[in-house]
C-alpha cells in the first residue's frame, strides 16, 4: 500500500470521525491533534537534528498560557490571534534559549533544556498572582475564524467546530513541516545529525542550523500548546514539568521517530492507550513505563519501525 494512499485514507477517516465516534472519544482526539503539532516540531529536533530535549514542554506551556493570558488580561479570544501570538512568543523564547543550548550536545543539551523547562515551571508555579500558581488559569472558549460560538453547548462546540479547526491546523502544520524537511535546509540538518565535522567542512554551520531547528520546533510546540488549552478549559504548571517533556519524547519514540508521521502516530497511541488503561486501573504510568522499556530494549524504531521497512527519515524519490 503506497504511503500516499494510507495518508489519504487517514485524512478521510479523520474528517468522517465526528459522525462515527462517540463524543467522549472525539474529545480525546483534540489533545491528540494538539500533540501531533507539538511532536512534528519535536521530531525536527530529535530525528533530523539529532538533539534530545528534556524541556520541550516549556514551549507547550508558553502556548497554553498565552491563550489563558490573552483571554484573562486582554479579553482576546480569537484563536487566530492566540495562535499567532503563541507562535511569536515560542519563536522568541526558543531563539533565546536556543542560543544558549545549541552549542551543547547529547546529555548536556538534555540537561540544559531540562533546566530551562524547570525554570519556567518554577516561575509559573511561584508567581501565582499572575499565573494562578498550581491551580492554573482558565482558558476561555476561543472564537473560531472570528465566530462567536458561545451559544453552543460545550461538548457540541468541542466535537464539532473546534475539532475541525484543530484538524485544519494539524494538516497545515504537517504540510509545512513536510516542506521544511524536504527543503535544502532539511538536508543540511541531516548532514549535521550524521556527521557534524564533515558538515562544517562542507560549509554548513552546525550551531546556526541547530538553532534554526530549535526555533522552528519551539514555534510548533507553542502552537500545539495553544490548541491544548481550550478542551481542558484550564492550564496549570504540570503542563511544563519535566516529566511532561519526557512524555513528549516517549510519544516520539513510541510512534517511531525515523518516520515523518511516526511521532504523530505515537501521540495517537499514547492518548488512546492512556485512556484505555485509565478506565481499568489508574496506574497508566506502570503500563507505559513497561511499554517504553520494551520499546527501548526491543524495538527502538517504535511502531513505524515494526510495520514499515527501514528507511531514512526523509523519503527522497527513489528510482
Amino acid at each position: 500500500m503506497s504511503g500516499r494512499l494510507i495518508l489519504g485514507l487517514a485524512l478521510a477517516g479523520l474528517l468522517v470521525l465526528p459522525f462515527v465516534l462517540s463524543p467522549y472519544r472525539l474529545i480525546l482526539m483534540l489533545p491528540f491533534m494538539a500533540y501531533g503539532v507539538i511532536l512534528l516540531g519535536l521530531n525536527l529536533l530529535f530525528a533530523y537534528a539529532g538533539l534530545v530535549s528534556f524541556g520541550h514542554a516549556l514551549f507547550v506551556g508558553v502556548g497554553a498560557y498565552t491563550g489563558a493570558f490573552l483571554g484573562a488580561h486582554a479579553g482576546i479570544r480569537s484563536i487566530e490571534v492566540v495562535v499567532l501570538v503563541a507562535a511569536i512568543l515560542g519563536a522568541v523564547v526558543a531563539a533565546l534559549v536556543g542560543l544558549l543550548c545549541v552549542r551543547y550536545v547529547k546529555i548536556y543539551f538534555g540537561m540544559l533544556t531540562l533546566a530551562f523547562g524547570m525554570v519556567f515551571y518554577t516561575f509559573v508555579l511561584k508567581f501565582y498572582r499572575i499565573t494562578g500558581g498550581d491551580e492554573g488559569m482558565p482558558v476561555p472558549r476561543p472564537l473560531l475564524l472570528g465566530l462567536d460560538l458561545d451559544a453552543m453547548p460545550k461538548t457540541d462546540y468541542l466535537i464539532g467546530p473546534y475539532y475541525y479547526y484543530c484538524l485544519g491546523v494539524l494538516v497545515v502544520a504537517a504540510a509545512v513541516m513536510w516542506r521544511i524537511v524536504h527543503s535544502p535546509f532539511g538536508l543540511c540538518l541531516r548532514t549535521i545529525r550524521d556527521n557534524p565535522t564533515k558538515a562544517e567542512a562542507l560549509g554548513v554551520s552546525v550551531t546556526r542550523y541547530r538553532w534554526y531547528a530549535f526555533v522552528i520546533s519551539g514555534v510548533f510546540g507553542a502552537v500545539g500548546g495553544a490548541l491544548l488549552g481550550p478542551p481542558i478549559g484550564n492550564v496549570d504548571p504540570t503542563l511544563v514539568y519535566w516529566t511532561h517533556s519526557g512524555s513528549l519524547v516517549f510519544m516520539a519514540l513510541l510512534g517511531g521517530f525515523a518516520h515523518f508521521f511516526g511521532p504523530v502516530l505515537g501521540a495517537f497511541v499514547f492518548i488512546f492507550l492512556q485512556d484505555a488503561v485509565m478506565s481499568v486501573v489508574p496506574y497508566w504510568r506502570l503500563v507505559f513505563g513497561a511499554i517504553l522499556a520494551a520499546i527501548v530494549i526491543f524495538a527502538p524504531g517504535g511502531l513505524m519501525g515494526l510495520f514499515a521497512r527501514r528507511r531514512a527519515p526523509v523519503e527522497v524519490a527513489r528510482p
Binding site: 534530545v52 546529555i107 538534555g110 519535566w242
Partner: protein
C-alpha cells in the same frame, strides 16, 4: 538573629546530607557506567516508603520506638537490592546503545516506580510521626535543632569518608576508578565489567534508598518526592561536576544551603535560584567544579 541564621544553615546542611547520599549514588553510576539515572529520585522515594513501613512494623512488633533509627536505616539499605534487580533485569540490555536510549530507559523506570509505589502504599503521605523528636534537641550556636538531624549529618559525613576511603584504598575502589576512566582498558586488563556494573549500580541505588529512608522522620513520604528530588540531584551533579564524588559533596552543600537560605528569605524563588545557577554553570563551566572534560 544568629540563631535564625544558624537554624537556616543547619537545615540546609541536613538537606545537603540527604542530597549528598542520593547524588553520590548518581555520580557513581554515571562515572562508571556513563548513564544518568533519572530513577535515582524514585529509589529515594522507595527508600522513604519502605522506611516508614519498616518503622511501623518494628514498633507494632513490640520494638522500642527510641530504636526506630535502626529498622529505618537497615530497611533503607536493604531495599537497595532492588538496584541489582533493575540492573540485571533491564539496564544491562542497553549498555551498548546510544545514551539517549539509556536515559529513556531510566525514565521508563521513573514512570513504573512512581505507580508501583502508589499501588503499594496509596497516595496519602506516610510518616513516622513523632519519632523525629525522640532523640531530643540540642543547642548549636544558639539555635535549637533536633538531635536526629545531627545524627543524619554525622552519618552522611561518615559515609562520605567511607566512600572516599573505598575509592582510594580498596581494590574495588581502584577498579571503579579505572573503569570510570577508561572502560576498554579496564576490560582488556581482565576486569569483569558486568560484575562491576552490577555492584556499582546496586551501591548507587542503596545510597539513594538510604537517603530516602533517613529523611523520612523530618518530612513525610509523598508521591511526588521522587520526581522532585531528581531535579535537585541533577543540580548537585551539574554544579559539582558529573562523575565526581567530591563534586557531589560540595554540590550538595551548595544546593542544600542555598535552598534553605532562599526559602527563608524569598520563598517564591526557592528552586528558581538553583536552576539559574545550574544554567550558569552549564554555560560557563560545563564540567562543574570537579568534573572531567565536558562532552
Amino acid at each position: 538573629m544568629t540563631a535564625n541564621l544558624v537554624n537556616v544553615l543547619m537545615s540546609g546542611v541536613f538537606h545537603a546530607a540527604i542530597l549528598f547520599l542520593v547524588s553520590a549514588g548518581l555520580q557513581l553510576v554515571f562515572g562508571v557506567q556513563k548513564i544518568f539515572n533519572l530513577a535515582c529520585g524514585s529509589f529515594y522515594a522507595l527508600g522513604a516508603y519502605v522506611g516508614v513501613s519498616a518503622v511501623s512494623a518494628f514498633v507494632s512488633a513490640g520494638g522500642a520506638p527510641v530504636l526506630f533509627i535502626l529498622p529505618l536505616a537497615v530497611a533503607g539499605l536493604a531495599v537497595g537490592a532492588v538496584g541489582l534487580v533493575v540492573e540485571r533485569g533491564l539496564l544491562r540490555f542497553v549498555y551498548d546503545r546510544d545514551e539517549t536510549f539509556q536515559l529513556l530507559l531510566t525514565f521508563a523506570l521513573v514512570l513504573m516506580m512512581e505507580d508501583a509505589i502508589r499501588l503499594t502504599w496509596g497516595t496519602a503521605p506516610q510518616s513516622t510521626s513523632g519519632y523525629y523528636l525522640l532523640y531530643g534537641q540540642a543547642r548549636v550556636l544558639g539555635a535549637v535543632m533536633p538531635v536526629y538531624n545531627l545524627i543524619v549529618i554525622a552519618a552522611s559525613v561518615l559515609i562520605a569518608a567511607g566512600l572516599g576511603l573505598m575509592l582510594t584504598r580498596t581494590a574495588f575502589g581502584r577498579i571503579i576508578r579505572a573503569a570510570a576512566d577508561n572502560r576498554e582498558m579496564a576490560e582488556a586488563l581482565g576486569v569483569d565489567m558486568r560484575g562491576i556494573y552490577a555492584r556499582v549500580f546496586t551501591l548507587g541505588t542503596a545510597l539513594g534508598t538510604l537517603g530516602g529512608a533517613l529523611v523520612i522522620p523530618a518530612t513525610a513520604a509523598m508521591s511526588e518526592m521522587g520526581i522532585e528530588l531528581i531535579v535537585e540531584a541533577f543540580a548537585v551533579v551539574v554544579i559539582g561536576g558529573l562523575g565526581s564524588m567530591r563534586g557531589a559533596l560540595v554540590g550538595a552543600l551548595v544546593v542544600g544551603v542555598l535552598r534553605a537560605v532562599a526559602i527563608s528569605v524569598y520563598p517564591e524563588i526557592e528552586m528558581l535560584l538553583i536552576y539559574l545557577i545550574v544554567i550558569a554553570v552549564l554555560l560557563l563551566r560545563p564540567r562543574g567544579l570537579f568534573g572531567g572534560a565536558a562532552a
